[in-house]
């Protein structure tokens, strides 16, 4: 599609100024290879400086610019306007998160759940863990068991896609559960017992129904659905 101009329909919401939730449209000139983030920055620089967006690396590695683009959770910096195949780009804040302002979502609950799963190596001998100057040895096979899940950039797109997160506040969510498995499967970790026991009861893990929407939208191929099923297997058979 050869187009020189695209219409951006952007969600606007400013609670500090008593503004209601509404959409504003902007006309944005398009070059080949332009991303949605570049379009939003054009709006912010030339058309409307009051637009609030979150972004940083603009190369799909920091995970800041997650938003709903034409109905699906995507990274704005990683989505070419051309790949949307439409002249109208609808941009909204990420689903299942509270909105702070415009396109900026509140990630505090997301990070709280991430912290809850203890995303660090648990060793019985904490003294050597902190004071030693030798590394823990790990073979390639042991690395392959979890390294895929270590690629997570905490962008939160999986939360926006998950149907359980939409209604269940106690569910940990795909990101936290994938990180729980990443540390469980890490051969250097010795906290398997307490990790498994922490999710054996309640809604934390077992409300996942394998809708796999998380893996569908993950921009780094982390496949949290796979981590969760492997974790579920461990919990059901071992906990």
């Amino acid at each position: 599609m050869n187009m020189s101009e695209v219409e951006f329909k952007v969600f606007r919401y400013d609670p500090a100024r008593n503004g209601g939730k509404h959409y504003q449209t902007y006309k944005v000139p398009v070059r080949k290879g332009m991303t949605v983030l570049q379009g939003l920055l054009y709006i912010k620089e030339r058309l409307d400086p009051t637009l609030a967006i979150r972004f940083s690396c603009r190369m799909a590695t920091c995970g800041s610019c997650g938003m709903m683009v034409n109905g699906l959770p995507r990274l704005a910096c990683y989505t070419l306007i051309e790949e949307l195949k439409t002249r109208r780009v609808v941009v909204e804040p990420l689903r299942n998160y509270p909105v702070i302002r415009d396109l900026v979502a509140d990630f505090s609950e997301f990070f709280e759940k991430h912290r809850w799963v203890k995303p660090y190596l648990i060793r019985i001998d904490t003294y050597t863990q902190e004071k030693s100057n030798t590394s823990y040895l790990q073979s390639d096979e042991e690395l392959e068991r979890y390294v895929q899940f270590a690629y997570c950039i905490k962008c939160g797109l999986c939360y926006a896609a998950c149907p359980v997160v939409a209604s269940d506040k106690e569910f940990l969510g795909p990101q936290a559960l994938a990180q729980l498995y990443r540390y469980l499967a890490d051969s250097r970790d010795e906290g398997a017992g307490e990790r498994l026991a922490s999710v054996a009861d309640g809604h934390k893990l077992l409300r996942c129904h394998f809708a796999a929407s998380c893996s569908k939208v993950c921009p780094k191929g982390v496949d949290p659905a796979l981590a969760i099923q492997l974790l579920r297997r461990e919990v059901l058979l071992r906990a």
Partner: protein
């Protein structure tokens, strides 16, 4: 009360067992005899009373009753408890689901026991 992981294991196990008991039930109603004959009271080898007369078939119906009651109402409990997470709501849903399931099991067992007695004079 019961750990969620054990409830889920039971959910999987009852699901698989329902394949067996349900298979028997569907076979007696649809496969082993024409459907019209299966619906009659006692006039053919796989009519209603004939099934209750046979101890094994009646037993498999009872098993199916227990398995489906657990599996179905545990499923409803999961769905309802995903809608809202409050302490009283959660207990109310668990209680309600258990009561309805137990009531159905009692009623169904009564049907099977009385029908078996009725069918074998």
């Amino acid at each position: 009360m019961i750990r969620e992981k054990n409830l889920m294991l039971l959910h999987y196990i009852t699901g698989v067992l329902i394949l067996v008991a349900g298979g028997v039930h569907l076979s007696t109603v649809f496969l082993l005899s024409p459907y019209e004959e299966s619906m009659k009271f006692d006039s053919s080898p796989f009519a209603v009373m004939s099934v209750y007369r046979n101890v094994l078939l009646a037993g498999s119906l009872e098993a199916l009753l227990l398995l489906v009651a657990f599996h179905g109402f545990n499923g409803l409990r999961v769905i309802l408890q995903e809608l809202y997470q409050g302490k009283t709501y959660k207990k109310a849903v668990s209680l309600a689901v258990t009561i309805v399931a137990l009531a159905l099991v009692v009623y169904g067992t009564r049907t099977i026991l009385i029908a078996h007695q009725l069918a074998s004079p």
